[in-house]
């Protein structure tokens, strides 16, 4: 699996995590190239379906990144997101994809270093888990 480079989709909220990712860039930090960010107004907008669709389209992992707990710009969107992530994790375990491929993380706007660190760690973890199992199935079916 050493040559496996996981693709991780990050749903990042506009107010904190997306900004933190920008800050990481400005600080010239780095994280794996497989980390691809989609911007949402608030993690409270991240639907379980979005996470499922990302995995269905081949992502190896999905990270939902919101503001620090207690600091959501829209009061509690990040808490809702965390609860939804749990639900999706259960479903992924049930269908054999693995709930651990999805994670909820919290960073503040200024925490560029933390963002880079989390993105790297998560990517590494997914790397150890191996590719999204649907890829194997898709090959077999084809």
């Amino acid at each position: 699996m050493s040559d496996f480079e996981p693709v991780v989709v990050v749903f990042a909220c506009d107010y904190c995590a997306y900004t933190a990712a920008d800050v990481a860039g400005r600080m010239n930090l780095s994280y794996p190239t497989g980390v691809r960010i989609l911007r949402v107004p608030c993690t409270g907008k991240v639907e379980p379906l979005y996470i499922m669709q990302a995995l269905q389209k081949g992502a190896d992992g999905v990270m939902v990144a919101g503001c620090l707990v207690g600091d959501c710009h829209f009061k509690n969107g990040n808490l809702r997101a965390a609860a939804r992530v749990k639900r999706v994790q259960t479903m992924l375990d049930d269908i054999g994809i693995g709930g651990e491929r999805v994670a909820m993380v919290n960073v503040s706007a200024g925490q560029g270093a933390k963002f880079a660190e989390i993105a790297t760690e998560f990517s590494k973890k997914i790397g150890e888990m191996g590719p999204n199992p649907i890829k194997q199935g898709a090959k077999a079916a084809a």
Partner: protein
């Protein structure tokens, strides 16, 4: 409005100082249609706030509340932010000033700098490091991650012109030969918001050890130590040896309330709260078992509901509070501990060993305050702060020049913001009548593309060296050109300067482009700029999508150009897929009625009415009683001894004489409906309670409070017992006579107890005021003030000191052993314990004066809340929108509040809040129509199952089920977070820009080729 000025032709204001007060004033003024020049001496806007990690009472990180404001202030068309700039001279008069300003060179071209930080890394001095916080003055410095403008600056005094930075700067932004520039600005008024400075503990190094011992920090240094963005990266370590501190002591009044050399005699007002916040935050996030001890003389949590925060810190969270006079801090070599010694409440010496000492240092006037005052031609008051007074709290001695924030004295954030809005309101009154602000007017009509296939233009902005070195532009551009719907690919060479934008607009027209992707910068920083640019070219702002190939690709993947290039292709493809499905967001235009209703005719209400009159429409001032003036009618003089009545009468006269104000006395508000811009308020007026409806656009609530009627201490049973107000009346009559022989005052009667846990805030000042007045009338009078904490903010501390010097005896009592009063025939006796003598004393008073608080006019406020659909907070006072950043706004758009309906307020506070509420309201009434074009959630009624889930999950309670039986979301109120859309089980709600199909398209494009 301070002077009759016929020359009200200017539409511009000069704001000095880019801290929160300056930003707030600028932003309010800009929103009200004014042109603002915002001067800041430092390289970036922000002031103190960005250096604070957390703000009480919510202990939130509020930087995201500030940064959009700073961003807007920096980016708004009518605010010109001028960093590194100072005022050189101010000629002329209110309404017609000529200001000369001098801009120092930044040595970095702001239009080019992309804040990549390469120069910072390359500067060979070694002293250059970007550590936000403790080290704020490194030669090239971005003061905080979200700084505005987003550009570095070079401090020439530390630069040896080696040129290393020039070599690494990809956008070629560095220009070491920049010269200073002088400009002349025509403005109608000036707002001084140049802030203050943290007191430097160096003169008291002998006692506090700051500078000698690395583990003695100022509160701001400690704040940075805790910050995730600070020098330790959020690790909780003390500076000397990295030890994890378990015992921290906060020393209050460091350099404040002292007559010692190098200190300040006044109270800095806000340090108590800062220390408590730091203690709580440290305990909650770093060390559960932290021994946090605050060493204090009086705890002064003075703001609204701060007392509750104090009680929580003390009783629930286990912060130790030790009442004492701190003495010295020493270092013990053998253990590495700091030893602090102090004199406690009983006069005995105490010692304690600590790992870390935090100095609750105060604030003082800016070091260049005198210089600036001279330039502005204004007088300074005591301690070099700007001179202002009780009934003109944001005015300076020069008409047309106003002040706010720490320039006036130490302020907390809500205080600064309130003054800023008030100063903005005053400054606006010196200008020409605001011209209607209709931002869409000067723009071409939006083109209608319905039914047309997408014609997407992709613009690569600034393939600067930083990006180009990593990403192969040719590959990306070629791949982009092949994407479905892309008709045009162009490189905009010139950053986002005006030329680049013009080229963009031109290309849109030439190639009949109906959708735009801009690849380069982050949408966070540049989205607004490009949205405006395509709007100028006739496209709806929603037809834009950005591909962040700078911050989120090239800059983070600089070590892997191949992958970074692939990723750039992916990000552009994703943006194209998203924009392909973009639908226009119609801007919603609502007519706006510029008239206002102000409820309550006290000082706050009158101030608000005057602030608005003549700047918008008509003001209806509704007062339930027969007279204007409210609680202030009962006041005889101010703390500094000036009579209140003449100034109050002048204020009332001004209101009565103003042709734009209609006064409705004997009038009650009975109903209220509609929304901002088109409210209808029903009132019953006059002796006959005639019902009438008022149409108006904004509302200001200033209904005041009432005085607590004491049941304690024989009040009402003995004529010797009276309230401070009654004593004031007696003093004003000059007929106090024998009653003034021996006066005992008891503080905190009816406050800070179980029934009313809040602090009365202003009763201490009333007591000192009356005590001084008694001494004035009868110098040999014996006056005792029995208190729990004397809360004398800022220079009122000087009055407190004066009272002590004049022989007024202040004796502290603890709430578990309050003074006792007994009566035997005509003889009354007050018994209380003296802590220093440690024995009970007995006094036979000739007058017993009770300091009672203003309390919420419970039923009235409750009714008010019901009518205006607002909430009451602790103690029954009206709840503001945000205690920190929106202190005079309410959660209902278009409804503002001021004065003691919010919390017990002094005259100056009531006046300031009234003006501030008017200032906030002006941001709305100056607009002929309300234009809303931010994406807001939309409901498809056919799909809606009326399940109520959106109603229940909206953080702001905006959706409701309408008469047709489906959910409706008021676009004027929705903030666009998308929670309802995410929760809607019928997929009936969509958030423009993030529709389900659009998110799916983006996901597919982002993952194309993966499977």
């Amino acid at each position: 409005m301070n002077q009759e000025n016929s020359q009200r032709t200017s539409n511009s204001v000069l704001v000095l100082g880019g801290g929160i007060a300056g930003i707030k004033a600028s932003y309010d003024l800009a929103e009200a249609g004014r042109q603002v020049y915002l001067l800041e001496k430092k390289p970036a806007l922000g002031g103190f706030l960005p250096l604070l990690d957390r703000q009480f009472p919510t202990n939130d990180c509020n930087i995201c509340y500030l940064s959009p404001d700073a961003d807007k202030a920096g980016g708004a068309r009518t605010v010109q932010a001028m960093p590194l700039t100072k005022l050189v001279s101010l000629e002329g008069q209110a309404g017609d000033f000529n200001a000369k300003v001098l801009t120092s060179p930044r040595f970095i071209n702001v239009d080019r700098c992309n804040a990549c930080g390469a120069c910072l890394a390359a500067c060979p001095q070694g002293a250059i490091s970007f550590t936000p916080g403790l080290d704020t003055n490194s030669p090239t410095c971005l003061r905080y991650p979200q700084a505005t403008p987003q550009a570095f600056a070079i401090d020439m005094s530390k630069c040896d012109r080696c040129g290393e930075c020039i070599k690494v700067c990809a956008p070629e932004a560095i220009d070491l030969d920049q010269k200073e520039v002088e400009q002349s600005l025509e403005v109608g008024s000036v707002v001084l918001a140049s802030g203050g400075e943290l007191w430097d503990p160096a003169p008291m190094e002998e006692w506090y050890g700051h500078g000698r011992f690395p583990d003695v920090l100022t509160s701001l240094e400690f704040e940075q130590l805790m910050s995730a963005a600070g020098p330790t990266g959020g690790k909780f370590q003390r500076p000397s040896d990295g030890r994890h501190p378990k015992r921290i002591g906060w020393i209050q009044c460091a350099g404040s309330r002292t007559t010692k050399e190098g200190g300040n005699s006044y109270c800095s007002s806000i340090c108590c709260m800062i220390s408590m916040k730091e203690a709580i935050w440290a305990m909650e996030h770093f060390e559960k078992d932290l021994e946090a001890t605050v060493f204090f003389m009086d705890m002064r949590p003075m703001g609204k509901d701060y007392e509750l925060y104090y009680q929580r810190a003390k009783n629930e969270l286990g912060v130790n509070f030790v009442r004492c006079r701190p003495h010295t801090v020493d270092y013990k070599e053998e253990t590495g501990d700091l030893r602090m010694s102090y004199v406690d409440d009983h006069g005995s010496l105490g010692e304690v060993d600590l790992d870390l000492v935090v100095l609750g240092v105060g604030f003082c006037a800016a070091s260049d305050a005198q210089e600036q005052a001279a330039v502005l031609g204004i007088e300074l008051g005591s301690h070099h702060f700007v001179k202002a007074d009780e009934l003109a709290p944001v005015s300076t001695t020069r008409p047309g020049v106003y002040a706010c924030g720490m320039a006036l004295g130490p302020q907390d954030i809500p205080g600064s913001l309130t003054q800023a809005s008030a100063a903005g309101c005053m400054a606006s009154a010196d200008l020409a009548a605001p011209r209607a602000l209709r931002r869409e007017d000067d723009l071409p009509k939006e083109k209608d593309f319905s039914g047309q296939d997408p014609r997407i233009g992709v613009f690569f902005v600034d393939w600067g060296r930083v990006v180009q070195e990593v990403v192969d532009s040719k590959t990306v551009e070629e791949a982009t050109a092949k994407l479905d719907g892309v008709v045009h690919v162009e490189r905009l060479e010139l950053s986002y300067g005006q030329d680049g934008l013009a080229a963009l607009e031109k290309a849109i027209g030439e190639h009949k482009i109906n959708r735009v992707v801009v690849a380069g910068y982050s949408p966070r920083t540049h989205g607004r700029i490009f949205a405006e640019a395509i709007r100028k070219a006739g496209l709806n702002r929603a037809y834009l999508e950005m591909a962040n190939i700078r911050e989120q690709d090239a800059l983070v993947h600089h070590d892997d150009p191949k992958a970074a290039t692939d990723k750039a292709v992916t990000l552009v493809r994703t943006a194209v897929a998203g924009v392909r499905q973009a639908k226009p967001t119609p801007s919603l235009t609502l007519p706006f009625n510029p008239d206002a209703v102000v409820v309550g005719g006290g000082v706050a209400g009158m101030s608000a009415a005057l602030g608005l009159a003549g700047q918008g429409g008509k003001v209806y001032l509704v007062e339930r009683s027969r007279e204007l003036g409210g609680l202030a009618n009962q006041l005889a003089r101010t703390l500094d001894g000036r009579p209140v009545a003449p100034e109050l009468a002048e204020l009332v006269e001004k209101v009565k004489a103003n042709p734009n104000i209609e006064i409705l006395t004997d009038t009650l508000v009975v109903d209220h409906k509609g929304q901002v811009g088109s409210f209808i308020t029903g009132v019953q007026t006059g002796p006959g309670m005639f019902y009438r409806q008022i149409n108006h656009g904004v509302t200001i609530l200033a209904t005041g409070a009432r005085r607590y009627e004491p049941t304690e201490y024989l009040y009402g049973q003995d004529p010797k017992v009276m309230t401070q107000l009654e004593m004031e009346k007696l003093l004003a009559s000059g007929e106090g006579g024998d009653a003034l022989d021996t006066v005992v005052m008891i503080q905190c009667v009816g406050s800070r107890n179980d029934d009313n846990p809040t602090c009365g805030r202003i009763c201490c000042r009333s007591a000192v005021k009356n005590a001084l007045w008694i001494k004035e009338q009868k110098p040999d009078a014996q006056v005792f003030v029995l208190y729990r904490d004397m809360r004398m903010p800022f220079t009122s501390e000087d009055a407190y000191r004066q009272a002590r010097e004049e022989g007024v005896l202040f004796v502290r009592y603890s709430p578990d052993a309050p003074p006792r009063v007994s009566k035997d025939g005509d003889t009354m006796e007050v018994i209380f314990k003296d802590h220093i003598l440690d024995r009970e004393l007995s006094v036979e008073p000739s007058a017993l004066v009770l300091s009672v608080p203003q309390i919420a006019a419970d039923e009235d406020t409750e009714e008010l809340c019901e009518i205006f659909r607002l909430q009451q907070g602790p103690g029954g006072f009206l709840l503001e929108d945000h205690p920190k950043v929106k202190p005079v706004d309410t959660p209902a758009p278009g409804v503002f509040a001021a004065g003691s309906v919010l919390a017990p307020a002094s005259l100056a506070e009531a006046r300031t809040q009234g003006l501030a509420a008017a200032g906030r309201a002006l941001t709305m009434v100056s607009q002929m129509s309300l234009v809303l074009d931010t994406p807001v959630a939309k409901v498809n009624g056919d799909r809606c199952a009326a399940c109520l889930i959106c109603v229940r999950t909206c953080p702001y309670g905006i959706p409701y089920i309408n008469a047709d039986g489906y959910s409706e979301i008021d676009p004027a109120q929705c903030l666009g977070c998308g929670v309802c859309a995410a929760e809607c089980p019928a997929q009936a709600i969509q958030l423009p820009g993030y529709e389900d199909d659009r998110m799916l398209s983006r996901t597919e494009a982002l993952l194309e080729g993966v499977l």
